[in-house]
């Protein structure tokens, strides 16, 4: 059994509980052990890095120091935004002597960016492998046309993330194909959803989400697969608003890649939190004989 330290992040404990649920279900079925970092704190997200660079580094480092004390296990996170902040903090601590000294003064402990931080998608592809995932799939999700949406922070900035191709990512598409789905080729897979502007400048988020959903729909997607709770919230929770604002109808379920993978691995609806999505995916899954 492969074991990792788990950094869920705030969203997975609240608005995106189904991401946490489905990630744990998938990991359990694949023999991957997830243990939460003791006393992890929020990564600071966008408000921290916008406001104070030192704070934006110190917050993730606090959790990473806590992780480092457990043992040498890698940290795995499901949230693309947390992933970005944790990796940025690691890079600063490894390369920037001045910041490292300031953070040491703040936290009272020395840290040099040594704890490896990975996204669950990366762990599944690299440590389990597509072939193994394909073999493990009990129920191929064939017949489902999935538009994999990467958004921003999983792949950008590339020098920091070192994850997939920043302009033409394949990892999620490959994963979906490995378990039987049809990967839809589309143009908006790396366009921004507006993320943290959701509350403050909602109309910008609606415009960006309209473009993303419209392209997915036009290319024949049945649903979207996402790997970030912010992307999911904007595309799912605000989809009805988008439809109203632009006088269009999408009805596109926005599923976490872990939910789709979980279905393929034979997990039940409740274990995957599929009943928690705003755009109900059940009619679609039923029409494809998947539930």
């Amino acid at each position: 059994m492969k074991r990792y330290l788990y950094y869920p992040g705030c969203s997975l404990h609240s608005t995106s509980r189904e991401y946490d649920l489905s990630a744990r279900t998938v990991c359990q079925r694949l023999g991957i052990g997830l243990e939460e970092i003791p006393d992890w704190v929020c990564c600071g997200a966008t408000p921290a890095h916008v406001t104070d660079h030192l704070l934006a580094v110190a917050l993730p480092v606090k959790s990473l120091i806590s992780a480092g004390k457990v043992d040498g296990r890698d940290v795995v996170t499901c949230c693309a935004a947390c992933f970005g902040r944790l990796k940025a903090a690691n890079q600063e601590m490894a390369e920037d002597v001045e910041i490292r000294a300031q953070v040491k003064q703040l936290l009272g402990e020395e840290y040099r960016g040594e704890v490896r931080v990975r996204h669950l998608l990366e762990v599944l592809l690299e440590d389990v492998g597509l072939q193994e995932l394909g073999l493990r799939a009990e129920r191929k999700i064939s017949g489902l046309a999935v538009a994999s949406y990467y958004g921003c922070l999983l792949v950008r900035p590339p020098k920091l993330m070192r994850f997939d191709d920043p302009e033409r990512p394949r990892s999620m598409d490959d994963l979906m194909q490995a378990v039987g789905a049809r990967a839809v080729g589309w143009a908006y897979n790396i366009e921004c959803c507006g993320a943290s502007l959701s509350l403050t400048r909602t109309e910008i988020v609606l415009r960006l989400c309209r473009d993303i959903l419209a392209d997915a729909k036009a290319r024949g997607a049945d649903c979207l697969a996402v790997a970030c709770p912010l992307c999911q919230s904007n595309l799912d929770l605000r989809q009805a608003e988008v439809e109203k604002a632009y006088g269009v109808r999408f009805g596109l379920p926005v599923l976490y890649f872990t939910q789709l993978l979980g279905l393929a691995l034979g997990a039940g609806l409740g274990e995957l939190g599929l009943d928690r999505l705003l755009v109900d995916p059940i009619p679609l899954l039923r029409s494809k004989g998947l539930v």
């Binding site: 969203s11 404990h13 003791p38 406001t51 104070d52 703040l106 950008r156 403050t200």
Partner: protein
């Protein structure tokens, strides 16, 4: 030399003025010799003079339509030492930190990080922002973190609505979110929350969500 002023027209600005007129800013040699450029280069760890204004950052920016000046113009203002104009722009607050600009810059300038440095400076200097809601959101978010250690979303929305004056923002979503188990009515409990409070106290007031 101080009187030797150069007028520069910024095309992007015409958007904010009905009729499409362009506005001219005066650059003086005081601006050019000031220490703003060095300050931003030091804080962002970026070589800002490497930018040759190709505009690729602006071409790919998803929120450019809502900006008053474009990302490459933000960089140009910094190059020319035009601190007040750069820090008063709406654009630096509209930036969604998606890093498309950073990814595509042929000169490897991390534009998103430069914009972060500008926002850090503006906040530290207590400058007002034309995007009031975004500032309020950031403050409320950080205060929430400082007291709970992890985000308490019910508190975040409540405080944001109260302070922004948008009292009923997304209120209609509450029942369905509650039903779907997406709202935890209670604040999170973290053991290290007190330690975290101490950390916030050591930082400058804005990092604690203060003014």
């Amino acid at each position: 030399m101080a009187a030797n002023a150069v007028g520069v027209a910024f095309r992007g600005l015409s958007r904010s003025f009905p009729g499409g007129c362009t506005m001219k800013w005066q650059i003086t040699s005081d601006d050019l010799r000031g220490d703003f450029l060095r300050q931003v280069e030091a804080e962002s760890r970026q070589r800002i003079l490497a930018c040759y204004q190709c505009g690729k950052c602006s071409a790919g920016c998803p929120v450019a339509p809502e900006m008053d000046i474009l990302p490459n113009q933000i960089i140009r203002l910094v190059q020319l030492g035009m601190k007040d104009q750069a820090l008063a722009s709406r654009a630096i607050w509209i930036c969604a930190s998606c890093a498309t600009c950073t990814t595509r810059c042929p000169q490897e300038v991390d534009i998103a990080r430069v914009i972060d440095a500008l926002r850090n400076i503006a906040i530290r200097e207590g400058r007002s922002s034309p995007e009031r809601e975004i500032r309020v959101f950031n403050q409320v978010f950080l205060r929430n973190l400082a007291s709970h250690g992890r985000l308490y979303e019910v508190g975040l929305i409540r405080d944001y609505n109260l302070l922004s004056g948008h009292l009923f923002k997304d209120v209609l979503k509450a029942p369905v979110m509650f039903r779907k188990g997406k709202i935890n009515p209670f604040p999170p409990k973290v053991k290290g929350a007190r330690e975290l409070k101490a950390l916030f106290q050591k930082l400058r007031p804005p990092a604690r969500g203060g003014a």
